[in-house]
């Protein structure tokens, strides 16, 4: 089946079997391998992408369902001006260790800040509750999203020890 998806602002087309998951369409047809396939059972969130701005698990959608939609992957966060504030914040706050969950965490964080520019720590923890990290204990992921919120608001991120 012929599908057209706007991926990171660029119109892309593919001819896929309906049973192909959106994760596979993104990784194999569009060769954007920043979207990871983790548990493959709707549990871990490593495959998170934004569909029309909302985080979804791309292992639990068929590619054909994204036909005509806007999809943002981790590759779409940075632009010609450089990294997105969420990416800079993950780097500076050590919001990752192995990096496997990071694309999903950053996309969920970016979507949260779009909706709520000044989330509380509780809001952040709830927002990332569908995404599993096995390295960081989440502390620095939360700090990174807080720092990104501050950076986007135009104030320097609080210094961390």
């Amino acid at each position: 089946m012929e599908i057209s998806i706007t991926v990171n602002g660029e119109a892309r087309t593919a001819d896929v079997e309906p049973r192909m998951l959106l994760t596979h369409v993104i990784r194999e047809e569009f060769e954007l391998t920043g979207t990871h396939l983790g548990c493959d059972t709707t549990s871990c969130g490593a495959c998170t992408v934004l569909m029309d701005g909302e985080p979804v698990k791309s292992c639990t959608m068929f590619g054909v369902q994204a036909d005509g939609r806007q999809v943002t992957t981790v590759e779409g966060l940075a632009d010609a001006g450089g990294l997105d504030p969420i990416q800079t914040a993950f780097q500076e706050e050590h919001g990752l260790q192995c990096g496997f969950c990071t694309p999903g965490m950053m996309l969920v964080g970016a979507a949260l800040l779009e909706r709520d520019p000044a989330p509380s720590e509780d809001d952040i923890r709830w927002a990332i509750s569908g995404n599993i990290c096995r390295c960081t204990g989440y502390m620095n992921i939360v700090k990174a999203i807080q720092a990104a919120a501050k950076a986007k608001a135009g104030t320097p991120a609080a210094a961390t020890a």
């Binding site: 309906p18 709707t42 985080p55 979804v56 036909d67 509750s129």
Partner: protein, 289 residues
């Protein structure tokens, strides 16, 4: 994991979707949010030959109060249930349950119609609808029928829907003033299925309990309507003792099994405690209303 091959149909209208179902019958499945059906297909527990995607069917995503009930379109996502102002103001059992369903990403996709039709005994909305005395509207090309939720939920993963019908709407009776309700859920972690959960809806009438609804999640082969517990309250004074007795009756109505989430005895105990606590919380809300 890839599901078995299937033919994909994107329905443009309800009539379109129904005509595809008429053509393929039991070999077709309706795809709404897909958060239960797609995992089942990936595990090859379900292998429909045809999927009828209703996500673009217009008119199925509304929430409005009409004729004494809240009409919730089948395609309303859990996230919308959790953020809707009418639900927050007058339907506390739904408002309490919605943010506890699965995780935020699943809530962005999962729908009320899909969740109820999936009929997982660990599903949250089945109990919510039993406690609130809701009905579902089933449409076929022959017309529509309105089925009380207790007759809709038949068994594990089994409802009374026919292969040529689509659930289009859920109707939740609007609670009168001085009503309250809540949903208490015990889960090992966010996103896990309930170890135990209890849905409660309660209305006060002249200082006594009027209508009460109590339903249980994850402790039987389907969402359990704890009707004996609820009817023990009707007409009686809303006292701690009455709520404790309802808790004991709810525990007696539960039928949990020992598994990784806990022993049978533990789950039964949680049903008793949660029922009592949920009734107390619902009473507090109702008294303030």
């Amino acid at each position: 994991m890839l599901p078995s091959a299937f033919e994909y149909h994107r329905a443009a209208s309800l009539e379109d979707a129904l005509s595809i179902l008429n053509q393929y019958g039991d070999d077709a499945k309706v795809l709404a949010g897909g958060q239960s059906l797609i995992p089942l297909m990936k595990l090859r527990f379900a292998s429909p030959g045809h999927l009828v995607d209703i996500n673009e069917v217009p008119g199925l995503d509304g929430i409005e109060e009409r004729d004494g009930a809240l009409a919730i379109g089948a395609l309303v996502r859990h996230r919308t249930l959790a953020t809707n102002e009418v639900i927050a103001a007058r339907y506390p059992t739904i408002a309490a349950a919605a943010p506890q369903i699965a995780d935020p990403l699943v809530r962005n996709r999962g729908t009320i119609g899909g969740s109820l039709t999936h009929a997982d005994p660990a599903g949250d909305l089945g109990s919510v609808m039993l406690a609130m005395g809701a009905s579902v509207v089933l449409r076929s090309s022959a017309g529509e029928r309105v089925v009380p939720i207790g007759e809709f939920l038949v068994d594990t993963f089994t409802t009374s829907i026919q292969p040529t019908e689509i659930l289009t709407e859920v109707r939740v009776p609007t609670p009168p003033p001085r009503s309250g309700g809540t949903y208490l859920k015990l889960e090992r972690k966010v996103g896990d299925f309930a170890t135990v959960a209890v849905a409660v809806a309660l209305t006060l009438q002249n200082g006594s309990v009027g209508r009460a609804g109590i339903a249980l999640t994850g402790v039987g082969l389907r969402n359990i309507d704890a009707a004996d517990a609820a009817s023990s309250l009707a007409g009686s004074a809303p006292t701690e003792d009455a709520f404790a007795e309802a808790g004991r009756l709810a525990a007696a109505a539960s039928n949990p099994v020992t598994d990784v989430r806990g022993s049978e005895a533990y789950k039964r105990h949680v049903v008793e405690v949660f029922t009592r606590r949920a009734l107390t919380a619902a009473f507090d809300t109702a008294s303030a209303g």
